[in-house]
């Protein structure tokens, strides 16, 4: 993608260069050719509507080409492919924390393989930061209180600067790091060297220990909605709106459950704001996302509720 950005940049440079040269040359030539000479008076010319229209409309259409090419590129940049490998990023003053789905954690250095679509799901623990990799020609602000995403596919192994690009206090200029791009083989080797439970496993454990499973059951109707298969699906809320259950929705539901209440349910879920850290939130979100609908014919569900007997009767809570 960086090549495409450069191509657009060169196109703009050419057009701007031509425009600048035209103006510079025109002004210079006219300033010299029509310099004050005894005996010659200036000729008063009111204007020319045709000229005004021409030099308004033509530049506008040229600018439209900038807009269209730029917008198309931007659309691609902001639409991560569905098959992207996800990595969670937590920014804080003044470092970058990374969590691979497999459980690896990194600080200020992010290892990624070539040839794979990588989607970063990012949030901040404190102030606004910005994830900037000049080599990829990509940047995205990282905000507290919600997720923003950035995706890329690295093609050439190497080490690339990572900068924070939104002023965030004392050590803003020291909040750098590197994206370490490796061949898939080397990457696999690096991965194997690390410890850890995959992120969704951590999330699954939290789901149990925090008591989420008590209400969010998948075997019977519980006090809370069944979370299996909800990721990226539309959800009908009780005020009539329909929203998509993306990462931000899941996150908000944990931190601020009364903001969006699912149709047919009561607003009884307590908030976990202050109880879960950003990393734990990421794990829970990863876990919920992993709760896929069972494929037809599969034996059971992917998750098991924490050891409670199955009930055949729905309990309606009034």
């Amino acid at each position: 993608m960086s090549g495409q950005v450069d191509a657009l940049y060169i196109y703009l440079l050419l057009v701007a260069g031509v425009m600048t040269a035209l103006i510079f040359v025109a002004v210079t030539v006219l300033a010299i050719k029509y310099r004050r000479v005894r005996g010659r008076e200036a000729q008063q010319i009111e204007g020319s509507t045709i000229l005004e229209i021409t030099w308004s409309v033509i530049p506008f259409f040229v600018m439209l080409t900038f807009f269209i090419w730029g917008a198309v590129l931007y659309f691609k940049e902001r639409t991560p492919p569905a098959d992207s490998t996800e990595i969670y990023v937590v920014a804080k003053q003044w470092m970058w924390k990374f969590e691979h789905m497999e459980g690896q954690r990194e600080i200020n250095e992010l290892h990624v393989p070539t040839g794979q679509n990588i989607k970063l799901i990012m949030t901040s623990q404190d102030v606004i930061h910005s994830f900037f990799v000049p080599a990829f020609r990509l940047k995205q602000d990282v905000l507290p209180g919600r997720y923003t995403t950035l995706w890329f596919k690295a093609t050439v192994p190497g080490r690339y600067h990572l900068f924070c690009a939104e002023y965030c206090g004392t050590n803003h200029s020291g909040m750098g790091g590197e994206i370490v791009v490796m061949e898939p083989r080397d990457y696999a080797q690096w991965m194997a060297g690390g410890p850890a439970a995959p992120l969704q496993e951590t999330g699954k454990q939290l789901f149990a220990t925090l008591g989420c499973a008590t209400c969010h059951r998948s075997d019977v109707q519980g006090r809370g909605p069944n979370l299996v298969g909800i990721y990226n699906k539309p959800v009908l809320l009780e005020d009539g709106r329909t929203v998509t259950a993306d990462e931000n929705y899941v996150r908000e539901s944990i931190l601020n459950p009364t903001a969006k209440i699912v149709n047919g349910f009561k607003p009884v879920m307590p908030t976990f704001q202050g109880i879960v850290s950003e990393e734990q939130l990421n794990a829970l979100v990863a876990y919920v996302k992993s709760l896929a609908q069972p494929t037809p014919g599969s034996a059971g569900l992917q998750n098991e509720p924490a050891a409670s007997p199955a009930q055949t009767q729905k309990t309606q809570v009034q």
Partner: protein, 548 residues
């Protein structure tokens, strides 16, 4: 050859400068011309404060390490540089100095509509200025001039509320100036002076005033909300309490984008006057240039979120704002084309004001075109928050606003002071400014594209060469700014006395004495001619100034 020579032994006529010498007659004046001079002194002072901070920035950035000062100090330095330059120099400079002085005279009035409010405006500016100076001297602020939340509301320990108050008060100075200008231009034009006969400088300041009164209150309330949030921990912008940091950005940029048009429009008005006079021609496409000022003011209110393309706004919002931003480029381009076309078949001379006008056209073209790069979404993702943006806005603000101001200051200096500045030194300064400016800021475009973020105290060593070039340019630029300080002051005592119209320019201001009397005209003029009637003004050789 010279005609209206004033004999050296004649007692100076009563004019606004010598009509009362006491401090009281200056500090309690309601004469718009004296108020303009008061602004001239105060605005120049703040320019040098801001410039001092700029010098510190460029010195620190000579080396990749942060070795001149602590990181916290550097953060305060660039913040104070930005705040002072934006709110205490760029926003007021052309309207409050040149606008205040010239608008009533150009329309044949005795003063602005509300002279006491005009004086109040200056006092508000001074109070704001004292507060910001106090902030500066007692530790400064470190949020960047854009004071984004939640850093400014929850995390920084510096004097945000006081600095906010300073800007709030200075903002009211701006609002009252704009209000004054609009009422004056609507209600106090001399008989016969229809809208289509107005000088383009008036059109430009009118458009600017519209922005001032509509936009500034929004940043005022934003500052109030930030202060209230900081003091009472409310959560309007704090996500932990349900607030939205992006709401701050929307409210902030809703003013701060039109603010840049407050800065550039009056300067563009100056350029129209300069090009007209030094080509001896009516500006080509007068109607279009006049209306383009209004168009910029209106469209300028619709593009603010182009500062937020990577901030987390939706894809579709970004596309809309990108599209609208291209629209606002069109009227600016129209102006540049019309100025260039005015040169055709003109009779062009190269006095210092005209050199600044040429410089403006070149540098504003580059600055404006790089704005298109930023409007282009795919490019903006890469270059926003880098030195590319820094270079862009310095091109338009320094290469644009400041050059227009300097050109105007030279052009109207004889009218304001009654003296001519030394032309040789002035031309030399203009050259220093032009060369120094380009050397300072052009490398920054490259720095930005290769990835150097802005507001960086330290940087990777591969960026050093470009930074050194930039600092070298800054030292040349500094000389270019210091020289006029010196020779303008020199001219007050030793400069040749100016006649009423040393440039043989069109415009009502040249039909009265240099300097003008307190009530501007002996008799109210009745206007029966179109603006820029250079065909009716004898094309005499520009008068040689008279030695005292």
């Amino acid at each position: 050859m010279a005609s209206a020579v004033i004999p050296a032994n004649q007692a100076p006529k009563l004019n606004y400068l010598n009509n009362g010498h006491s401090l009281r007659s200056w500090l309690l004046t309601t004469d718009h011309k004296r108020i303009a001079v008061l602004y001239l002194i105060s605005v120049t002072t703040f320019f040098f404060f801001g410039g001092f901070f700029a010098m510190l920035i460029r010195l620190e950035l000579l080396t990749p390490q942060g070795d001149l000062m602590q990181a916290d100090t550097y953060n305060k330095v660039f913040t104070m540089h930005g705040m002072i330059m934006v709110f205490f120099f760029l926003i007021p400079v052309v309207p409050a100095v040149l606008g205040n002085f010239l608008i009533p005279i150009m329309i044949g009035a005795k003063d602005l509509a509300f002279p006491r409010i005009n004086l109040l405006s200056w006092y508000l500016y001074i109070i704001g200025g004292i507060l910001i100076t106090h902030v500066m001297l007692t530790g400064g602020v470190d949020t960047g001039w854009t004071f984004y939340s939640p850093f400014s509301t929850e995390y920084t320990n510096t004097k945000i509320v006081e600095a906010g108050l300073a800007v709030f008060i200075a903002g009211f100075s701006s609002i009252f100036t704009g209000l004054n200008f609009i009422v004056t231009i609507h209600r106090m034009r001399a008989p016969g002076l229809t809208w289509s006969r107005l000088p383009l400088f008036i059109w430009a300041n009118y458009a600017t005033s519209l922005i001032m009164i509509l936009g500034t209150p929004v940043v005022a309330i934003t500052i109030v909300l930030v202060a209230v949030e900081r003091l009472f921990h409310l959560g309007i912008f704090d996500p932990r309490l349900g607030g939205d940091p992006l709401l701050f950005q929307h409210l902030f940029w809703f003013y701060s984008h039109p603010a840049v048009y407050i800065m550039i429009l009056p300067s563009m008005g100056v350029i129209s006057e300069l090009i007209g006079c030094f080509s001896r021609k009516r500006i080509f496409g007068y109607k279009f240039v006049a209306l383009s000022s209004i168009a910029i003011a209106v469209i300028g209110f619709l593009v603010w979120a182009h500062h937020m393309f990577v901030a987390g706004i939706s894809l579709y919002a970004a596309m809309i704002f990108s599209f609208l931003t291209f629209f606002v480029g069109v009227p600016s381009a129209v102006k540049v084309f019309n100025w260039t076309a005015t040169l055709y078949k003109g009779s062009i001379s190269y006095a210092t004001p005209m050199l600044y006008a040429f410089g403006f056209i070149g540098l504003f073209t580059i600055g404006g075109l790089t704005g298109l790069f930023l409007a282009t979404l795919g490019i903006d993702v890469h270059v926003t928050d880098t030195y590319f943006v820094v270079a862009h806005f310095h091109y338009v603000m320094v290469g644009g606003v400041l050059m227009g101001y300097l050109g105007g200051l030279h052009f109207w200096w004889p009218k304001i002071s009654g003296r001519m500045y030394p032309e040789g030194w002035a031309k030399l300064s203009a050259l220093f400014v032009f060369v120094g400016f380009n050397l300072t800021f052009f490398p920054q475009f490259i720095l930005g594209y290769v990835g150097m973020p802005r507001r960086y105290w330290q940087y990777p060593p591969e960026f050093q060469v470009l930074n050194v070039l930039s600092t070298a340019g800054a030292s040349v630029l500094a000389v270019g700014y210091l020289l006029p300080m010196i020779y303008f002051l020199w001219s007050l005592r030793y400069g040749p006395i100016a006649s009423d119209n040393p440039w043989h320019a069109a415009g009502l201001e040249w039909k009265t004495t240099s300097p003008p009397p307190t009530f501007n005209f002996e008799e109210t003029p009745v206007v029966t001619w179109e603006a820029y009637n250079y065909d009716e003004i004898p094309d005499k050789e520009l008068e040689a100034p008279v030695a005292r």
